[in-house]
Amino acid sequence: MLTKRQNLMETIKGGKPDRFVNQYEFMNLIMEAPLGEMAGPGQTIKNGWGITFSWPADQLGGFPVHDEEHKVLKDITDWKNQVKAPAVATSDEAWAAAVAHANAVDRNEEFVAAFVAPGVFEMTHHLMSMEDALMALYEEPEDMHDLIDYLVDYELAYAKELINRIHPDCIFHHDDWGSQRSSFVSPEMFEEFFLPAYKKIYGFYKANGVELIVHHSDSYGVNLVPFMIEMGIDIWQGVMTTNNVPELIEKYGKQMTFMGAIDSGVVDFPGWTPEIVAEYTKKACEECGKLYFIPNLTQGLNFSSFPGVYEETTKVIDQLSKEMF
């Protein structure tokens, strides 16, 4: 039997996996790295960039607060005065827990996977609101290029420390680039603003020993796939069924693997049942096949919003591996 790591590599290289890669099993996620403050359920926090996040207890996630009082960047043309990156944590103490966790991972079995979020696009709209960020791409492109360069420099500074500290084999990087029906920006705009940014970021990780780039965007993104491949993504996690995943695998599988195809929205809700999970998981596995595909909820971490859904999905995938391999 292959290790989780070997089985993953066989799957994404078009080799001979002996079972489905089961959701996030190949990533041992190091969540202890000093990535910055994030709001938990019921909390309102202000992070190092000055962005206020609120996560009401009865909601499924947190939101940046963008009223006039809380918006960090009120005028893109004045971003140099209004946006101040926090210092990257460089003390042994700040990294101790992450280092200890990484050291405890058997790298033959799993990938030491560093979690990085939010992404560059998300940072632009966290700072200034989605509407302002998207319009600024049109109205003040030079300032947006400069702001994005600044965000990339910060990411690279963090990446350098991350690499030195835990030597990750895998980066699990979030940046949501679309809704379930379309990408937020046109391919042309994506190519101009975000492709260069991610070529720098993912190129830096790859040049420094990272074997695997897994990018999360639980959205539509067919029109961005060529750019995802160009920037060095190995696995697109969160791929929704609106993308026609079997077709994507057929067309691009040899260059990038697709992880998802079980839309969280349709299986992960208060009234979920094992039958619903089984139906959609079976459909995903049967339609997408054994290579260049990892069955997974589209959620961007290794759990579900409602207790039991993630575990049930894992169970169904195990069963399907027995039947299909």
């Binding site: 939101f63 989605m130 509407e131 998207l134 319009m135 049109y138 705009m189 929205g265």
Partner: protein, 208 residues
């Protein structure tokens, strides 16, 4: 090319800095404010169609709506009290328990561009608040309810049922990622739209 035609074209491609001047020039040429407004509404209708078909994306739609808004600013003082071009007031909000506002804001912008006066109740709006807003505002013809989460679909149902049970003469349109035409019909909504462009088309259709 006539000035009105130029206004139409520049709104469609989101020339926010040019549109106000062109609207003024169109007025100086003797065009009626209502006629210029109608031209911009038609531009936004094209923008909505292009967004729905995937030809353009959110930034293009936002920038076109902003261009129109700047054009309307020039017309507004000349049209005070003239309601002939208005399709009435639309109350919009994201339903109780749901804090998503981006999709709702886009829909609001596009419905406004179609000729409605918008009253935005924001997010996490209880069902009763939609009803109160209909009563408190003048000439309300439409209520637009948004819900992005599968978990808030019951709140969407409650909102529609409460509005309908109030007996007020308004149409209700619903939308949001998990909403389907079947679900919209099941909960008693008058209309459904899958995106902001289609929402503007459907809104006009509902109050025609």
């Amino acid at each position: 090319m006539s000035k009105i035609q130029e206004v139409k074209e520049k709104v469609e491609i989101g020339k926010t800095k040019l549109v106000p001047g062109l609207v003024q020039e169109a007025l100086d040429e003797g065009n009626a404010p209502g006629e210029i407004l109608q031209a911009m509404v038609e531009s936004m209708s094209v923008v909505g169609e292009k967004f729905s078909s995937g030809e353009i994306f959110v930034p293009e739609m936002l920038i076109a709506a902003k261009a129109m808004s700047k054009g309307v600013d020039v017309l507004r003082p000349l049209m005070a009290g003239d309601t002939s071009a208005s399709l009435g007031t639309c109350i919009i909000g994201t339903v109780a328990g749901d804090l998503h506002d981006i999709g709702k804001n886009l829909v609001s912008m596009m419905i406004e561009s179609a000729g409605f006066t918008m009253v935005d109740l924001g997010v996490d709006v209880p069902a009763e608040k939609f009803v109160e807003a209909v009563k408190e505002n003048e000439n309300v013809t439409l209520v637009a309810c948004s819900g992005l989460l599968t978990t808030t679909m019951p709140a969407l149902k409650e909102a529609v049922e409460t509005i309908k049970a109030s007996g007020l003469d308004v149409k209700v349109i619903v939308g949001g990622a998990p909403v389907t035409p079947e679900y919209a019909a099941e909960i008693g909504a008058d209309g459904f739209a899958p995106d902001a462009g289609s929402a503007a088309v459907k809104a006009k259709e509902l109050v025609a």
